[in-house]
Symmetry: C2
Subunit: 84 residues, 2 copies
């Protein structure tokens, strides 16, 4: 069994209104030192081993469903996990 | 300037209907090997140095705004970043 951590972030050039709202909330809650916030998604997938490489599978899943390649970037980490 | 990465996940005991929907979509898109999906949030914060420790600041922000401590856990990584 593999544990895969996927991080999906908006591309640098894409505006992040949600992050901006969070930044403003933090500023008004007495955290003026917060200068920028960008919000993305984090996913943990448990994947059973198959004939295909996990890496290929993860890339294909990110590309086809998990991320929107037009406005988002993704990175991932694959860990082998012994127990389910 | 510090770059802080915050990962917010639902607690183990909390149901994740969004993750379940993604799992089912992946299964029906010819990825039967996906056995579980949990979805969380990922945030990148740029924080200017102050007299307070960054770690304290981040914990307080997570507790008061970024995460819901009743149903969510958070972890974070702090990196020092030279350029803005």
């Amino acid at each position: 069994m593999y544990k895969v951590k996927v991080y999906i972030t908006l591309r640098e050039s894409v505006l992040d209104p949600q992050g901006k709202a969070v930044k403003q909330s933090l500023n008004s809650m007495n955290f003026p030192e917060v200068e920028d916030v960008r919000i993305g998604k984090y996913m943990e997938l448990m994947i059973a081993p198959t004939d295909k490489s996990v890496e290929e599978t993860v890339k294909e899943m990110c590309h086809r469903l998990l991320a929107n390649p037009v406005i988002e970037d993704y990175t991932y980490e694959i860990e082998e996990s012994v127990t389910k």
